[in-house]
């Protein structure tokens, strides 16, 4: 392994670890479920993807072994983590979890009320 590739791998892994730390701070510091979910599902996804990319490059350059399972893992995390974040947020909204008291706009609520009225007039 050359010096340049070592530095690139180190940057990838440290950046991934840093983003995971940012996620942890976001989950602790942010006020309500939705903002916490925003921090958790975005920063953690990117952080894990960076760590996995670093791992893949490391083993490719060190042993000449291209691990396709890591690539599959990156694709899998990239596809599933935002969807799980979406589902958690939606479940929180539908069970009536309150938003932060400084939030100003809730378009989804008026949309749900509209849909409810439509269903009433149809039945």
């Amino acid at each position: 392994m050359s010096e340049v590739s070592t530095v690139i791998i180190a940057i990838f892994i440290l950046l991934g670890a840093f983003l995971s730390l940012v996620t942890a701070f976001g989950v602790i510091r942010l006020p309500d479920v939705y903002t916490r979910n925003h921090a958790a599902s975005k920063a953690a996804t990117l952080g894990i993807m960076f760590i996995l990319i670093g791992t893949c490059i490391f083993f490719y350059l060190k042993d000449g072994y291209f691990n396709s399972r890591v690539i599959l893992g990156i694709i899998f995390i990239f596809l599933t983590a935002p969807v799980s974040g979406h589902l958690i947020s939606r479940a929180a909204y539908h069970t009536g979890v309150k938003m932060w008291n400084k939030s100003v706009q809730d378009d989804y609520k008026s949309y749900l009320e509209e849909q409810g009225e439509k269903e009433k007039s149809n039945s």
């Binding site: 399972r69 599959l72 694709i75 899998f76 596809l79 849909q115 409810g116």
Partner: protein, 140 residues
């Protein structure tokens, strides 16, 4: 209030293929790498459970139109069959054999009868897991 599950269902369609492929990979890599029938079976049933989460039981029963309890019996039959098969060659029960074969598409491969035993494990694990989950899910 009816909500739409379109994001979950679309992602499930894509993801379940990746999960099943990974399960098959683990199953076939079991002889030389970590993996095998147990993990492969569990991950396969994980993919079916994901389908159960995104859709309802009736839809999944339409996709996989077989009784999972039959899978358990079939798997046990595979396991016992490999054991009994060795008796026909005058060797002790469950003696395995392997050989190198030249297959038309895959080239030189080493085939081992332990894979047949592992297929039994795989089928039993899928059958048991899905029977447990569907029985609990269907009870009111």
């Amino acid at each position: 209030m009816k909500t739409s599950d379109v994001i979950l269902q679309t992602m499930t369609k894509v993801i379940s293929f990746i999960i099943v492929l990974f399960a098959l990979h683990l199953f076939f890599a079991g002889h030389y790498h970590p993996g095998g029938g147990f993990v492969g079976g569990l991950i396969t049933s994980g993919a079916i459970v994901l389908l159960l989460l995104a859709y309802d039981i009736k839809t999944v029963a339409k996709i996989f139109p077989f009784d999972y309890k039959i899978l358990i019996g079939l798997g046990l039959l595979f396991a016992v069959g490999t054991g009994v098969g060795s008796l026909f060659f005058g060797v002790p029960f469950l003696t395995h054999a392997f050989g190198h074969f030249h297959l038309p598409l895959l080239g030189e491969t080493s085939l081992h009868t332990a894979v047949l035993f592992d297929t039994g494990v795989y089928l039993v694990v899928v059958g048991v897991t899905m029977t447990i989950i569907q029985t609990i899910g269907e009870s009111e």
